[in-house]
């Protein structure tokens, strides 16, 4: 990555990133992309979030689901129900699940990610963000 040399360049980069142009350029169909975000702050890690991430990746490979991006994120604030995971299916609102252990991972992948069927354990969003 070469250095950004002006505010104009920074603004252009932001615009590109917001439209996820990069992903389009790589050929992935962004409309069908599933996003899985796992809270990976100290509280999450202490509750086993690293294992949860591995379990997600393994299970999705097993089920042959390829149009998915699994990333880590910071504390979502639901420290009482770690590990927490946010899943955004294409064209749907994000859904946060709590207490995601191995069996919950299997349930989420086979029911929610594959079939769009909600499962128990949703954590309702409790805040606005600017």
């Amino acid at each position: 990555m070469s250095k950004i040399k002006s505010l104009e360049e920074l603004k252009n980069l932001r615009a590109k990133l917001q439209e996820k142009v990069d992903i389009r350029e790589k050929g992935d169909k962004i409309e069908e992309l599933i996003q899985v975000r796992i809270a990976m702050a100290t509280c999450g890690i202490a509750a086993g979030a690293k294992q949860t991430m591995e379990d997600f990746i393994t299970k999705m490979n097993e089920e042959g689901i390829k149009n998915v991006v699994v990333t880590q994120t910071g504390c979502m604030g639901y420290c009482h129900s770690e590990p927490t995971v946010e899943i955004t299916l294409p064209n749907k609102e994000p859904v946060v699940y709590g207490n995601v252990n191995k069996s919950k991972v299997d349930e989420i992948v086979t029911k929610y990610i594959k079939n769009g069927e909600l499962v128990d354990g949703i954590i309702p969003v409790a805040y606005e963000t600017i």
Binding site: L13, T73, C75, V119, E128
Partner: protein, 597 residues
């Protein structure tokens, strides 16, 4: 794809469960099965909705109807009227108490607008190790705007007008501090971020650094531009390895992208950041001790004046701000001072992040506008007290703060109101206590901490806190006297007036606050030699209840000190002078004949 047309979300949070939401969910499933709808309507149990006062909560998707105070018997009417006939049940909808207005969608409820994340705006939305995600969410726009369109004084004015006050606990107006440092002329100035976060139970700064480190990097650069500094330092406690790792990556990535280093964005502004580690001392969270520690000296505070803005790191003008204070800066530059001022109270604008911990159901990180009441944070957002126990007190401000009681719950939170009630907002630690917590033991715990952490430089703190702790140990061991209580009060006042730095000056706060609000507990310990909440083991007695004891000898056999006497089939007796209060006898008794008093 699933063929469910509707979803019924039933809150499975602790509060709602204890009001029957489990039974409600079962009933719903049963009625749906009866009507042959089990493949069209799905019943799901969720985590806590937060609106526990009005539980059990039910939310219907996709129409977003929000029902409150739903009883298990209401399952049938929900299925018949709402799910089958499509008619909302008015009696179950939420009515605003003051106006009686009916609100059917939670998006329009004030309750759900209670939390507002400004400092935490990116936490949970970006991968903290990916600078591009930060840039995609307005990242570094504020820095760009500052160095290309604004002058140093412009930036300072924006921060001054916003009313931002230090979030580390001091509450000093940030814009003013920046201006002082700006006005002091020197060949080198420094921007310091205080990431020491020593308060027990506080994790706001840790979460910010782990979840959105770029916001701190950007803010420090903006500060450097404003005050005329080209060097920044982050003093972070070594006990936060993940935060250190992510912050270092953020700094490295920012350099790579040309957002730190020489000639940022082709301007003549250069700024770089270095990380310095703490070594386990709470006192190094105090800015002058922090500066000493960064200079490789023992972390001991120095007298103020001179303030760091005038003479700080290596004697140069230094601006020290807390992590959360910095986290607000990019948002203020991007959205404007008047936007920030419109949130919160008149004298304390913006929001505050609290680390809600202790005996609440929903422990975690909450960010609320200033002016939100304690009741709203603890009972609404926090979901109330665990296990259905009674609220007793909330400790705010860490070892420098005090306790607030049931009478203070409707206090709107800001810098000045909590001070007026005998505590302080501090850096945001909020520890909730219930009926089983002993307030004398709580102040003993905090004194244990401050005795350990006192740097030893000044006599009032070094010796004074030790003496305070000894008296509290005496009291909780059942050996206290009324003279001890008088001494606690007078010694606390002397220490507050004479200690050199904030650690000593505020160390007696937990004692003064609990003595004032829980005087009965102190006198119970001293005069009656009893601990009302049952926590101080030395004051507990295990006593055999003669009406229930059948003389089975189970207790005597397990007693490790053989202090239980009695013949078979006769009431047994515990010798209190030998009893070590281990509780083995009570655990062994199958007739509930041993009481703990």
């Amino acid at each position: 794809m699933a063929n469910y047309k509707m979803h019924v979300l039933v809150c499975g949070g602790t509060g709602c469960l204890s009001s029957g939401s489990g039974q409600l969910a079962d009933n719903l499933k049963e009625v749906l099965k009866e009507k042959g709808l089990e493949n069209e309507v799905q019943v799901l149990k969720t985590g806590c909705f937060g609106f526990c006062e009005k539980g059990p909560i039910v939310k219907i998707l996709p129409d977003n109807t929000f029902y409150v105070e739903v009883k298990p018997e209401d399952a049938r009417i929900i299925v018949d009227e709402h799910l089958i006939k499509g008619r909302k049940i008015e009696s179950l909808l939420y009515k605003v108490p003051e106006t009686k207005e009916i609100i059917s969608d939670s998006k329009h409820m004030d309750f759900y607008k209670k939390q507002m994340r400004i400092a935490l705006r990116n936490c949970g939305f970006v991968d903290p190790e990916n600078i591009e995600e930060y840039i995609g969410r307005e990242g570094y726009q504020a820095l760009g705007k500052s160095i290309t369109e604004l002058s140093s004084q412009d930036v300072i004015n924006i921060i001054k007008e916003s009313g931002l006050r230090g979030r580390g606990g001091g509450g000093f107006p940030t814009g003013l501090k920046w201006e002082f440092t700006y006005k002091n002329k020197a060949d080198q100035k420094y921007v310091v971020c205080n990431a020491d976060e020593g308060d027990p139970g506080a994790f706001m700064d840790r979460s910010l650094l782990e979840g959105d480190p770029h916001s701190i990097v950007e803010a420090m650069a903006i500060c450097g531009y404003a005050i005329g500094a080209s060097k920044g330092l982050v003093y972070i406690r070594a006990e936060y390895p993940l935060a250190i790792e992510r912050l270092q990556k953020a700094i490295d990535d920012a350099r790579e992208f040309g957002l730190l280093g020489d000639n940022i964005l082709n301007s003549d502004f250069s700024f770089d950041i270095e990380i310095k580690f703490g070594a386990g001392a709470f006192v190094c969270g105090e800015e002058t001790a922090l500066i000493q520690s960064m200079q490789d000296n023992r972390g001991e505070p120095t007298t103020k004046p001179p303030f760091p803005a005038e003479s700080g790191y290596w004697g140069k003008p230094t601006n020290v701000n807390n992590v959360e204070t910095f986290a607000n800066i990019p948002a203020i530059i991007n959205k404007g001072a008047s936007w920030f001022k419109s949130i919160g109270t008149e004298k304390s604008s913006g929001t505050k992040v609290f680390a809600l911990a202790g005996k609440v159901n929903n422990v975690g990180l909450v960010e609320v506008p200033m002016g939100t009441t304690l009741r709203e944070v603890i009972f609404d957002i926090g979901g109330g007290i665990k296990d259905g126990k009674k609220f007793k007190a909330v400790q705010t401000g860490g070892p420098s703060g005090g306790c607030l009681t049931v009478n203070d719950l409707d206090t709107p939170i800001d810098f000045d109101t909590l001070l007026a009630k005998g505590s302080m907002m501090g850096s945001g630690g909020m520890i909730v206590m219930d009926e089983d917590d002993c307030m004398v033991a709580v102040s003993k715990f905090y004194l244990e901490f401050t005795v350990e952490e006192s740097c030893g430089k000044c006599t009032p703190c070094r010796i004074g806190t030790k003496r305070l702790h000894e008296i509290l140990e005496k009291i909780t061991a059942g050996k206290g006297t009324s003279e001890d209580l008088d001494l606690l009060k007078s010694l606390s006042t002397v220490i507050k007036d004479t200690a050199l730095c904030g650690l000593g000056q505020t160390a007696p706060n937990p004692i003064l606050s609990t003595i004032e609000k829980f005087w009965d507990e102190y006198t119970a310990h001293v005069i009656d030699k009893k601990c009302p909440s049952g926590q101080c083991t030395s004051l507990l007695q295990y006593v055999v209840n003669p009406e229930k004891c059948i003389g089975c000898t189970a207790c005597a056999r397990v007693c490790p000190v053989n202090c239980i006497s009695g013949k078979v089939k006769e009431v047994h007796f515990i010798d209190q002078s030998k009893c070590i209060k281990c509780g083995a006898c009570q655990a062994a008794c199958k007739f509930s004949a041993i009481d703990k008093k």
